[in-house]
Symmetry: C2
Subunit: 150 residues, 2 copies
């Protein structure tokens, strides 16, 4: 549903959000290692995000990526709008035409309901809030030392 690129980007931003209180910067390499994401791949994504002012960066020694106060108030879907080219929640789940509540397909209510809910989440929840929720609930964003559960 989401591309690897989008998933990586979200996790990287969550990582930076979690660290944002310390006002420290993290290099692409550090982030890649922490999240076990391909080094150069995440670097490219971070650059795209920085270019679009979703995250912040400074070059040179002691430089790196970080989130400022403004970044933290952006929405989760702002990340997706940069990384995910094709709109994620568009297009028919079954490739059928003319979807509507009038002539719904057998999965209409399940799919439409899901899309509605996840979209509201992504459009309304700030990166800050998202990260806080992750922290509060003890969700792991790093695979390190964990065997995959799914």
């Amino acid at each position: 549903m989401l591309s690897n690129a989008s998933k990586y980007a979200i996790r990287a931003v969550l990582f930076l959000a979690e660290k944002s209180e310390m006002h420290q910067k993290y290099s692409a390499v550090e982030i890649a290692e922490a999240l076990e994401i391909p080094n150069h791949f995440i670097a490219k994504l971070l650059q795209q995000l920085a270019k679009n002012h979703i995250i912040s960066s400074t070059k040179g020694p002691n430089g790196g990526f970080y989130l400022n106060a403004k970044n933290l108030q952006l929405k989760v879907c702002d990340i997706l709008n940069v990384i995910e080219i094709k709109k994620v929640f568009e297009g028919c789940f079954l490739g059928l035409p003319k979807c509507s509540d009038v002539n719904p397909c057998p999965v209409h209510h399940v799919v439409a309901g899901f899309r509605e809910k996840i979209l509201v989440k992504f459009e309304h929840q700030t990166i800050q809030e998202f990260a806080d929720e992750v922290k509060l609930k003890g969700t792991f964003i790093s695979h390190k030392g964990l065997s995959p559960s799914i």
Copy 2:
């Protein structure tokens, strides 16, 4: 979420299910034209389905693809098991590790709920039932003459 291949396959089977009362056979070309799907692509998918006994076929003049009574009692997910290589509903939506109800990610309940529901649909609803529901509710499975709504 689903590949084009899976979507095409489902629509093709729905098409055959709808026609199954007439005990007529349809060539790959006819199906492709009716559903506006690439000719050779759907032919290949139909062959795979026939090989795995999800649909039936006969060669030669007046041959073609069709569904017998047994085919109609198969489940929708039987189609996906043939076409979709990687399991559709596995893997974390956000690429996070250790998903569970104990430490849920911010979209856990939305995603887990959706997966549960759609999986139940696909595993329990027969092709016959699926097609009947489509017919009853007037869902379009062909794009012909329709401008896309989404």
